[in-house]
C-alpha cells in the first residue's frame, strides 16, 4: 500500500518534470512561430505570447519581398548544396585512398591528415591565408573552405576498414580497377556513413555564420548568407524595414527565423537517425 502510494508520487513527479522540460524546450520556439503569424499592429499590443493575436501572413510576404533576405536564402542554398555535394565526393574519395593499405605512401598520407586534428590554428591565420589566396570576399569563399572535414574523412575511412576484404577481392580477380571497386562496391555498402557525414556538412554549412563575418567584407551584401542576414536583422532592424516602417521588428524577425530553421525541421527525422548513428559509430582513432 505504502509502495503503491510512493510509486504514484514518483509517477506524478516524473510527469511534472517531463512537462516542465518539454515546455522549456518548446516554449521559446512556440513564441516565435506564433509571432511570425501575427499581424504587426496586434503584435505591438500583445508582444510575444502563447497565442497569435490577429492571424496574418504579412510577415512572410514582406520577408520574401526583401532583397537581403532572398539573396541570403539563395546564397545559403547554393553554398550549402555545393558544400554538401563536394564534401561527399571529395571526402569519400580521400577516405577510400587513406583506407587502401597497399598504396605506397599510405602511412605518410594518413599521418598527414590525422596530424591536423591535433593542431588547431584558430581562425585568424585561416583568414590571412584566404586573403593571400585571393578568396577573400568572393563567392568561392562561402564554399571552398567548408568542404574539407578531416573528422568526417576519418569516420568514413574507419567504416571502409570494417568492410570485409572479400567484397573487394572477388571483382579484383575479375579485373576491375580501383575506381570501379570504389564506386561500385565500397560506396554502395557505405551509404549510411556517407549520409551521416553529408548531413553533418549540410547542417554545419547551413548554420554557419562566422564565415561571412571573417571571410567577407561586411558591406558586400551580395555575399551575405541567411544566418548573417538574421544576425544583422537582430542587431539593426531599421535597415530591413520598408520606408513607412510599418512592419514590427518581432514579426519580421520571427518569420525569417522560421524560414531559416524550416529546412532543418524538414530534414529532422533523417538528422536524428543519422546523427545518433554517427555518434555511436564512435571515436575516431588515428
Amino acid at each position: 500500500m505504502v509502495g503503491a502510494k510512493r510509486n504514484l508520487g514518483i509517477t506524478i513527479g516524473k510527469s511534472i518534470a517531463v512537462f516542465i522540460f518539454s515546455a522549456f524546450f518548446v516554449l521559446p520556439l512556440w513564441l516565435v512561430v506564433m509571432a511570425s503569424f501575427t499581424d504587426s499592429v496586434s503584435f505591438i499590443q500583445k508582444g510575444y505570447s502563447f497565442w497569435a493575436g490577429k492571424f496574418s501572413v504579412q510577415a512572410y510576404s514582406f520577408v520574401f519581398k526583401n532583397s537581403l533576405v532572398t539573396t541570403g536564402l539563395i546564397n545559403s542554398v547554393v553554398a550549402t548544396v555545393s558544400v554538401t555535394l563536394l564534401s561527399i565526393v571529395i571526402n569519400t574519395s580521400a577516405a577510400y585512398v587513406l583506407h587502401e593499405k597497399n598504396l605506397p605512401g599510405h602511412k605518410f598520407l594518413n599521418t598527414f591528415f590525422v596530424f591536423t586534428m591535433f593542431f588547431n590554428t584558430g581562425m585568424i591565420p585561416i583568414v590571412l591565408v584566404i586573403r593571400e589566396l585571393g578568396l577573400y570576399n568572393t563567392y568561392m569563399v562561402l564554399i571552398i573552405p567548408a568542404v574539407l572535414n578531416v573528422y568526417n574523412i576519418l569516420l568514413i575511412r574507419n567504416y571502409f576498414y570494417s568492410v570485409p576484404a572479400s567484397l573487394k577481392e572477388a571483382p579484383m580477380i575479375d579485373g576491375a580497377n580501383q575506381l570501379q571497386i570504389f564506386v561500385q562496391i565500397m560506396v554502395p555498402v557505405s551509404t549510411p556513413i556517407i549520409a551521416t557525414t553529408a548531413l553533418m556538412a549540410f547542417v554545419t554549412k547551413w548554420n554557419s555564420y562566422m564565415d561571412v563575418l571573417y571571410y567577407v567584407n561586411k558591406d558586400n551584401t551580395s555575399l551575405w548568407t541567411i544566418q548573417y542576414v538574421v544576425q544583422e536583422m537582430l542587431a539593426d532592424f531599421k535597415a530591413f524595414n520598408d520606408e513607412d516602417g510599418v512592419m514590427s521588428k518581432g514579426v519580421v524577425q520571427s518569420a525569417t527565423i522560421i524560414i531559416t530553421i524550416l529546412p532543418l525541421m524538414l530534414l529532422f527525422p533523417l538528422l536524428q537517425k543519422y546523427f545518433v548513428d554517427g555518434m555511436t559509430i564512435g571515436a575516431v582513432k588515428g
Binding site: A35, D236, V276
Partner: protein
C-alpha cells in the same frame, strides 16, 4: 618503437617540407620589397657638450633612455626606436638606436625608408595635392631632392600666391618623372631610399646610419633655400657617417639638416639558404639517383609497380590534399604572422617583430580590460559546465526512467530539436523571451528590465542558452552508459527496499561515474575556448557598452584586432589561447588515461 620513430620522422619531414616550401616561395617573392624601415643609427655626443646634463655615463644613459621613450610616446608605435647599447671613448658617448616602421618620429623629424619607386610615386601624388590646394603644408620630398627645382621657390615663398607648381627642373624646364628621379638619385627601381629630415638633435655632433644594404649614393643638405650640401659625409659599405658640428647644430633658424641615401638591399638570406638547399638536394639526387643508379632501381622496383597500379588513387585524393594544404597546413605557416608586423601586401615577407605582440598581451593582463577578458572567458565556461551538468544528468535519468517507448521517443525528439539550430537562430528565439518591449518575460511580469543592456544576468543567460541548445544531445552519452549498467544491481537494490531515488544514487550515478568524470575533464580542458559565436548571437550583436563587463571574451579582442587590420596582434592572441587550450587538453588526456579510461587522443 622503430615504427613510432619512423612515423615521427615522416611527420616531421612533412611539416618541415611544407614550411620550407612556403617560406621559400614567400621570401623569393618578397626580396626587394620589404621596406619595413628597419635600420640602425649611431648618435655620437661629445662628452664636454653633455657635461651639463649628464656628468657621468650612468646619468647620460638614463637621460638618453628617457629621451628615446619620449620620442616613442610621441610616435605612432611604441617600438619605433629602441636603444641597443652604449659605447664610450675618450671624447664621445656613442648611442646605438635601432629603428623600425619609421614614418615620423615625433619631436625629432622624419625618417622615411622606402622603395625608390614608391617613394617617387608618393611624391608626385603629394605634388598633385599641393596643386589642388589640398594642403600647403604637405612638403613633397621630391622638392627637397631637387633643391633647384622651380617648385621649391614657390613652396618656400609664402608670398608667391596662388601657388603654381610645375615640378620642373630648372635645368631642363621639363616636368619631372620617375626616370628623372632615377638619374638624379642614381637609383634603379629595386633600390631603396632613406630620406630624412632631422631637427632638434641638440647635443649630437656625429651620426652614423647603418643601412640594410649597400650605400650607392648620398646627398645631405643643411639648407632648403640654397640646397647647400654638407661636405663632411662619408660612406662605405652599408654605413653613412655625417659629421659637421657647424652645419648641423648651428643655433638659430637653420638647425635642421636633411638629405637622402640610396642603397640597394642585398640578396635575402632566405633565398641564399633556398639556393644552397636546392643545390645540395640536386647534388644528392644526381649522386644517389644517377651515379649510384637509385632512380633506375626505383623505377624497376616493386614500389613503383604499386604506384602505377594505384595511380588513379593519387588522383582521387588530390582535391582533399590540396584543400588540407590550403586550409590546415598553410594557416600553420601563417601563424608566424603573430611574430610580424603583418602587412597584407607583403604577406609573410612582412617585418619580424619577435615577441612584441605576445609581450603586449602579457603586459596588458595588468590592465582592467585584459583582466576582464580572461576572467569572463574562464567564468563563462566554468559556470556553464557546473550549472549544466546536474540538469543534464537529471534529464538523462528522467528519460531513462520513462518506460513507455512512444513517450520516451517523443520526449527525446523534442529535446533534440534545439541542437540542430544555429546560434544565430537561438539568439533570435531567445529574443522572444528577453526583448525589453515585446519579450515574454517583461510582458508577463510587467517589468521593464533591459536584458540587453544589463551586464549582470548575462553569465546566466549564456549558461541557460547553452543548456537549451545542447542538453538533449548531451544526455545521449549518459543514457547509452546507463544501458550498460547490470540490471541485477537494480533488482538487488529494489529487494533491499531501495526506492527509485535510492536506486538512482546507489546504482545509476556510480554506474556512470566514469563517463561523468570523463566529460567533466573534457569540459575543463576547453575552459579557455570561448564561444564568441554564441555571445555575438545571444546579445544580438550588441557586445559593446555596459554589457561588456560580463560578455567580453578573448575571441572578441582577436576579432576586433582583425577588423582593425592588426593582424599580428590578432594572431598572437589566438595563438596564446590555442596553446593554453592544447596544453589543457594534453594534461587532461593524461589524467583521463590514469583513470583507466581510454583517452581521446
Amino acid at each position: 618503437m622503430v615504427l613510432r620513430i619512423r612515423k615521427f620522422a615522416t611527420l616531421l619531414l612533412a611539416v618541415l617540407t611544407t614550411l620550407f616550401v612556403f617560406l621559400a616561395c614567400s621570401s623569393s617573392m618578397s626580396v626587394g620589397i620589404s621596406n619595413s624601415g628597419s635600420g640602425e643609427v649611431v648618435l655620437s655626443v661629445r662628452k664636454e657638450n653633455a657635461a651639463d646634463i649628464a656628468p657621468d655615463r650612468a646619468s647620460f644613459e638614463a637621460y638618453m633612455n628617457e629621451y628615446v621613450a619620449k620620442l616613442n610616446s610621441e610616435s605612432v608605435d611604441t617600438d619605433v626606436l629602441t636603444v641597443e647599447g652604449y659605447e664610450e671613448d675618450d671624447t664621445h658617448y656613442r648611442v646605438t638606436v635601432s629603428t623600425r616602421r619609421i614614418d615620423t618620429i615625433g619631436g625629432l623629424g622624419d625618417i622615411i625608408y622606402e622603395n625608390t619607386k614608391s617613394f617617387c610615386e608618393n611624391d608626385l601624388k603629394n605634388l598633385e595635392k599641393i596643386k589642388d590646394g589640398y594642403d600647403q603644408l604637405v612638403m613633397p620630398s621630391i622638392l627637397r631632392v631637387y633643391p633647384n627645382a622651380e617648385a621649391v621657390r614657390h613652396v618656400m615663398d609664402p608670398e608667391d600666391n596662388p601657388i603654381e607648381i610645375k615640378a620642373r627642373s630648372t635645368d631642363s624646364g621639363e616636368i619631372l618623372s620617375f626616370e628623372d628621379f632615377e638619374s638624379e638619385l642614381r637609383a634603379s627601381e629595386k633600390d631603396h631610399i632613406l630620406f630624412f629630415q632631422l631637427a632638434d638633435l641638440k647635443l649630437v655632433d656625429e651620426i652614423t646610419f647603418e643601412l640594410p644594404g649597400e650605400v650607392k649614393f648620398v646627398s645631405v643638405m643643411s639648407d632648403y633655400e640654397t640646397g647647400e650640401e654638407i661636405e663632411t659625409v662619408s660612406y662605405s659599405g652599408s654605413s653613412v657617417t655625417v659629421k659637421g658640428t657647424e652645419l648641423l647644430f648651428s643655433t638659430g633658424e637653420k638647425n635642421a639638416f636633411f638629405g637622402y641615401f640610396v642603397y640597394s638591399e642585398g640578396v635575402s638570406p632566405w633565398l641564399i639558404a633556398g639556393i644552397v638547399v636546392g643545390v645540395l638536394g640536386l647534388g644528392a639526387l644526381v649522386y644517389f639517383g644517377i651515379i649510384k643508379g637509385g632512380i633506375k632501381r626505383f623505377f624497376q622496383g616493386s614500389v613503383w609497380q604499386r604506384v602505377l597500379r594505384y595511380k588513379i588513387l593519387y588522383l582521387l585524393i588530390l582535391p582533399a590534399f590540396a584543400l588540407i594544404i590550403m586550409f590546415r597546413y598553410m594557416p600553420m605557416v601563417w601563424l608566424s604572422a603573430g611574430f610580424m608586423e603583418y602587412d597584407l601586401l607583403q604577406g609573410l615577407g612582412s617585418e619580424w617583430v619577435g615577441l612584441k605582440y605576445f609581450k603586449g598581451v602579457f603586459y596588458a593582463t595588468n590592465t582592467p580590460e585584459m583582466y576582464r577578458i580572461f576572467r569572463n572567458t574562464i567564468f563563462i565556461s566554468l559556470i556553464r559546465i557546473l550549472s549544466n551538468l546536474p540538469v543534464i544528468l537529471f534529464l538523462a535519468v528522467l528519460i531513462n526512467s520513462i518506460k513507455t517507448k512512444k513517450l520516451r521517443t517523443a520526449f527525446q525528439t523534442i529535446s533534440f530539436i534545439p541542437y540542430f539550430l544555429s546560434w544565430v537562430s537561438v539568439g533570435g528565439i531567445f529574443n522572444a523571451v528577453l526583448d525589453p518591449n515585446t519579450g515574454m518575460l517583461n510582458r508577463m511580469f510587467g517589468s521593464t528590465t533591459n536584458w540587453y543592456g544589463d551586464p549582470d544576468p548575462w553569465w546566466a543567460i549564456l549558461s541557460i542558452s547553452s543548456l537549451w541548445k545542447g542538453m538533449g544531445w548531451s544526455t545521449l552519452i549518459y543514457i547509452s552508459a546507463m544501458c550498460n549498467i547490470d540490471t541485477e544491481l537494480y533488482e538487488a537494490c529494489s529487494l533491499d527496499g531501495g526506492g527509485m531515488m535510492r536506486q538512482v544514487f546507489t546504482v545509476t550515478i556510480p554506474g556512470i561515474m566514469n563517463i561523468i568524470c570523463l566529460q567533466l575533464i573534457l569540459d575543463v580542458s576547453n575552459i579557455m575556448r570561448d564561444n564568441y559565436e554564441q555571445i555575438l548571437a545571444m546579445t544580438n550583436g550588441q557586445v559593446t557598452g555596459a554589457i561588456q563587463d560580463t560578455v567580453d571574451v578573448v575571441g572578441r579582442i582577436s576579432y576586433t584586432a582583425l577588423s582593425k587590420g592588426n593582424f599580428g596582434s590578432a594572431t598572437a592572441i589566438g595563438l596564446i589561447q590555442g596553446v593554453i587550450g592544447s596544453i589543457l587538453v594534453l594534461v587532461t588526456n593524461k589524467i583521463v588515461k590514469k583513470t583507466e579510461n581510454e583517452g581521446i587522443i
